[in-house]
């Protein structure tokens, strides 16, 4: 810093640097404002109604994009969201039913699931068997609401395929 040009050059660079930093800071702030801090999405824990209202077999709940299965007092729930690109799969009743051991217990396979977007196919327990789907349909945790005894699903809590809810 012995002569004036050095100081001038130094100040010029600081000036440009501060200008660039200011513009970048404002750009970053503008972009950050677009990242939502509050989610107004539907809650992930949903009451589905009294267990007695579910028929034996399968019931599709379009709002939750969920299949709820009932065999007597035993319930389980499988997601209808295709694991490929998120379209809603459709259930197709099977002409002959099959009993398979899934997890620790047996499950009656009454349907299979087909995706209209890219043709993925899943078996009745959600296992992906054809098409581009990379993994099985999710199973979600079911429970009974302590206050009014309704069936409750937690769409944020996938469970393994051995999960069953048995209602006393």
């Amino acid at each position: 810093m012995s002569d004036g040009t050095d100081r001038r050059e130094f100040l010029k660079r600081i000036g440009i640097g501060v200008g660039v930093a200011a513009v970048c800071g404002q750009a970053a702030a503008s972009l950050r404002s677009l990242v939502p801090n509050v989610s107004y999405d539907a809650p992930t824990t949903v009451k589905l109604g009294p267990p007695a209202e579910f028929p034996d077999g399968m019931k599709f709940l379009p709002e939750q994009r969920l299949f709820v299965f009932r065999e007597g007092r035993i319930f389980h729930a499988i997601s209808a969201v295709c694991t490929h690109l998120g379209c809603t799969v459709r259930a197709e009743a099977l002409s002959h039913q099959e009993v398979r051991t899934v997890g620790a217990s047996e499950v009656k396979l009454t349907h299979r699931f087909l995706c209209p977007c890219h043709g993925s196919r899943y078996e009745g327990d959600g296992t992906n068997v054809a098409g581009p789907a990379p993994k099985p349909l999710a199973w979600y945790e079911l429970s009974v609401a302590p206050d009014d005894g309704q069936l409750v699903v937690d769409l944020a809590k996938p469970v393994d395929h051995g999960f069953r809810l048995t209602i006393a």
Binding site: D41, H84, L85, C87, R90, P116, H118, P134
Partner: protein, 451 residues
């Protein structure tokens, strides 16, 4: 309009720099009047005073860029009334589009022009890109300071912007088509490694397609993307002038002059009329370019052709829009995925790829959404961007259709295009419910609307 320089002017200026008469003429009587038009008219100022005949031929450029410009102008013009009429709210967007379609006077026609122009623009931008590739027009020729490769990169970016503009416009009617196309599209974005979920959330403004998504897509569609496209378009045009005009000009410069140009040998200039500003470019100032019979005045020869192409495009679209109605499906329903759920035609090849590219290696699975939706298109775009630097063919191959030295790369390009076209055709005509294959003459089985 080639007038020899020694022909007397109609009126001589009273002083240097003072034009003989204000304004300009579409039918100039002299070279000077023709030049005045370019200087004094705002819309003409981006043209050179004189243009090469070779650049103006129909069969070289096919005028695809000009057609695209006309379509963009039509899109802006037809978008304005739609912007006044469309209500960007989840509850009312569908109803407002239905009103445009059925209640507003000329509404269906305006919407049809907007939609058809958008579809055609995607096609024309792509054809323009294909023309530039096949003629090697991204190659630098003989002029100094040329950077055609960067104009090609700008063009690729504008192509992607056009696709993104189409995609964002797709959601605005808020019908079934819109909702599920955006579901699939944004889920492809979430297949990007590491940041995918955040990218999707940023696009949607939440975790589900809702009001924030509509607001974001609307803003992108009417403000952000057109503004970026407009700036890039201006730069695209400016670069053509900086690079010495179309690539066919370089080719013309290499051709030997048919006859010596009288009195031209001793002339020196620091620029040429074709717009090469940087460096003197001795080769581009070859005698063949300076000959009066190889160039014509931009006004009216260039402007006349541009008018024909632009007015022709507007006429075709206006008439087409009378006969082709725009579809509007049922209102968006998050509860029911339509069967089959098809993307717009220019994304169908991608939909085919994401269907076919889920890879399983043992227990390890790679989602087709990543391979077909991110990796393959990303590679294609990267390849397109990098191509001018990979192309080692000689400069003489620039500005010619199918030169021998570029035969292999042209064939590879055409094969890739053919694959994309084939996948698009399969997606359009062969895919039915549950994305199964049905021949066009086979009926689709009756599908229940709910399971």
């Amino acid at each position: 309009m080639a007038i020899s320089p020694d022909q007397p002017e109609h009126r001589t200026p009273s002083a240097p720099g003072v034009h003989p008469r204000p304004g300009w003429s579409v039918t100039p009587a002299s070279d000077r009047e023709a030049g005045d038009a370019v200087v004094s008219n705002f819309l003409f100022h981006w043209f050179p005073a004189r243009a090469l005949k070779d650049s103006l031929t129909w069969r070289y450029s096919l005028w695809l860029g000009t057609i695209t410009t006309a379509l963009l102008a039509l899109l802006v013009a037809s978008g304005m009334p739609l912007l006044f009429l469309h209500v960007p709210s989840v509850e009312r967007a569908y109803g407002s589009v239905k009103d445009i379609e059925n209640v507003v006077t000329f509404g269906a026609w305006i919407r049809s022009i907007h939609r058809l122009s958008a579809h055609l623009m995607v096609a024309m931008v792509f054809l323009h890109l294909a023309r530039v590739f096949l003629t090697g027009a991204y190659k630098n020729g003989v002029g100094r300071g040329q950077h055609r490769e960067w104009n090609w990169v700008i063009g690729v970016v504008m192509f992607l912007l056009t696709l993104f503009l189409s995609f964002t416009g797709y959601l605005l009617p808020w019908d079934q088509l819109a909702y599920w196309a955006v579901t699939v599209g944004t889920n492809i974005a979430s297949a990007v490694p590491l940041v995918g979920a955040q990218v999707r959330e940023l696009m949607l403004g939440g975790r589900a397609i809702d009001q924030p998504t509509l607001t974001r897509f609307e803003t992108l569609h009417v403000i952000v993307l057109p503004a970026v496209l407009g700036v890039l378009f201006a730069y695209h045009m400016w670069r053509i002038r900086k690079d010495g005009g179309l690539a066919s000009a370089d080719r013309a410069a290499l051709l030997p002059a048919k006859a010596p140009v009288p009195g031209e040998a001793g002339r020196t200039k620091t620029y040429t009329l074709l717009g090469l500003a940087r460096g003197q470019g001795p080769l581009i100032r070859s005698a063949s370019l300076e000959r009066p019979d190889t160039t014509v005045n931009a006004v009216p020869d260039l402007t006349r052709r541009i008018s024909i192409v632009m007015l022709g495009t507007v006429a075709v679209l206006s008439i087409l829009a009378v006969f082709v109605r725009s579809p509007l499906e049922e209102p968006a329903n998050a509860l029911v995925t339509p069967n089959p759920a098809k993307a717009p035609w220019y994304f169908l090849w991608l939909q085919e790829i994401v269907t076919d590219t889920t890879i399983r290696i043992g227990s390890f699975t790679v989602n087709g959404a990543f391979v077909g939706g991110v990796l393959l298109p990303g590679l294609l775009v990267a390849l397109m961007v990098a191509w001018p630097w990979l192309d080692r063919s000689p400069a003489a191959a620039a500005g010619r259709w199918f030169p021998r030295s570029r035969r292999t790369q042209n064939i590879v390009f055409l094969v890739l295009v053919a694959v994309v076209v084939l996948l698009t055709l399969i997606g359009t005509f062969v895919r039915g419910p549950y994305w199964r294959m049905y021949w066009p003459w086979q009926g689709w089985p009756e599908m229940p609307t709910r399971f």
